[in-house]
Symmetry: none
Subunit: 254 residues, 2 copies
DNA sequence: ATTGACCTTCACGTTGCGTAAAGGTGTAAA
DNA sequence: TTTACACCTTTACGCAACGTGAAGGTCAAT
């Protein structure tokens, strides 16, 4: 099915201006332009628009949505986790605000007195949030050049922070890896299980999996001291052991 | 306590640019300007800024906030109680949004090994689920109880709606009052209609109505020059006329 | 006397579009 | 065939609510 700009707009409930804007910012380009210069959209574009609108409903800004749906290395899970935290933050702030209102009511009724500082309790948190956003942006801008690099940096950030599912998986890898290390057999069942879990963990950050990339990352764990430090924290040699296990798991070697 | 622009900004968690902007759009003017042209804010401005931020948190545009808090009928105490309820509503809505994001994350993580095409399907499914949720919501709005189904937009519409009806009512009162004034009869039909409209208008702001309070307010229109100025703007004597009409309407006198 | 942290007023940039303006295209009815 | 009318195009300014300089004055301390 093919759609002109207005037909698609009607279908999706957005204005033609919006679609032209999406074309302009390269987040949704028409399938083709006909002989009269009309934008013609196809099935694929319909689906993509649905995706865009879905993320928009979750409150993500368009530039982030664009990254999510255009870049194979930018993972929706990471963006969503970040977004989730922002929302949780906002809820906390709301709670503080509600407490503030309660206090202000009490103060107005003469039950208590409020200092000027107390009057703004609950508003102030916004500043911190903004700074966090800025900081995050700076990091992204700094490491955004290399797609792979960005991904690794993200991984590192995630390692240092504590992110729910990823953390759990990471812990599991850790436990199993520790046990596997005792067997000293990177081809053994435990080590291979660790490699498999590692793959799963990795795919939280990479949309596409390739054995080569996995093997390459494993090698990096040995070469890059930040990663080595992380894995060897409890038992020296763990990074190397994991690399070997992964190389066997993937059947690749760099 | 007096504050320079930065001090107030720090106190309230807003930028100096914001405060200058608020000055520019006349929503929050400094108490005075010192000899060097610096903006100096006082206690009253601190409270006013707090009010502004409350309304801002609820998502109201600044021009409407301005109208609301500059209105001579603005009641800070009532506003605070409304704030409280609306903030609670907003938190509920936030919770729903968070649940939504959680769902999406869960769905994504459950389909880690899917191809791009399959992921697409996953999103589509999400969209369908989403729509079902929305549809269910609509049904609940129709048949369910009031408390459960208030979305952010609803809250906003409520505030805006209230404000709109209030404005319209006020205009109607104005017109009818002007006509009634020509009859010079505060007990006449027109004047009594004005008094009735005024009661309706009043009940948008007061949770409880009492004839005594209404009559008291009418007297205040005459005693407080801010109100007198407002009502006598076009025809001097209007405030007094309205007071008389209301006193007859309520059968009370202060 | 000179930092350095304040303050001031321009004035342009940002996001996600809305809203003309000025003009070309497609088709159905007069 | 003309004409009407609903489409489409690009260009470009407008909006809110500020962010972010630039260019310069003020104040307190060194």
């Amino acid at each position: 099915m093919e759609y002109t700009i207005q037909k698609l707009g009607l279908l999706a409930g957005v204005s033609t201006r919006t679609l032209r804007y999406y074309d302009e910012i390269e987040i949704l380009k028409p399938a083709r332009i006909n002989s009269s210069g009309y934008r013609i959209y196809g099935e694929e574009e319909v689906n993509r628009l649905q995706q865009i609108l879905f993320y928009k409903e979750l409150g993500l800004p368009l530039d982030q949505i664009k990254e999510i749906i255009t870049s194979p290395t930018f993972n929706a899970a990471v963006a969503l986790h970040e977004h989730r935290e922002k929302l949780l933050n906002k809820r906390e702030q709301l709670d503080r605000l509600i407490a503030n209102v309660d206090q202000t009511i009490a103060a107005n009724e003469g039950r208590i007195t409020m200092t000027d500082k107390e009057k703004f309790e609950g508003f102030k948190q916004q500043m911190v949030e903004e700074n966090e956003q800025k900081y995050g942006k700076e990091i992204r801008e700094k490491y955004g050049d290399h797609a792979v690099n960005q991904s690794n940096e993200k991984v590192l950030n995630m390692i240092q922070g504590e992110h729910d599912t990823a953390t759990k998986l990471a812990e599991e890898i850790h436990t199993i890896l520790a046990k596997a290390l005792e067997t000293s057999d990177p081809a053994g069942e435990l080590a291979q299980k660790a490699a498999d879990l590692h793959k799963q963990w990795l795919m939280l950050y990479w949309n596409e999996y390739s054995k080569e990339a996995h093997a390459g990352l494993a090698q990096m764990y040995v070469d890059d001291e930040r990663f080595t430090a992380y894995y060897d924290k409890e038992q020296p040699g763990t990074a190397k052991f994991l690399r070997d296990a992964i190389h066997i798991y993937t059947g690749k070697r760099n």
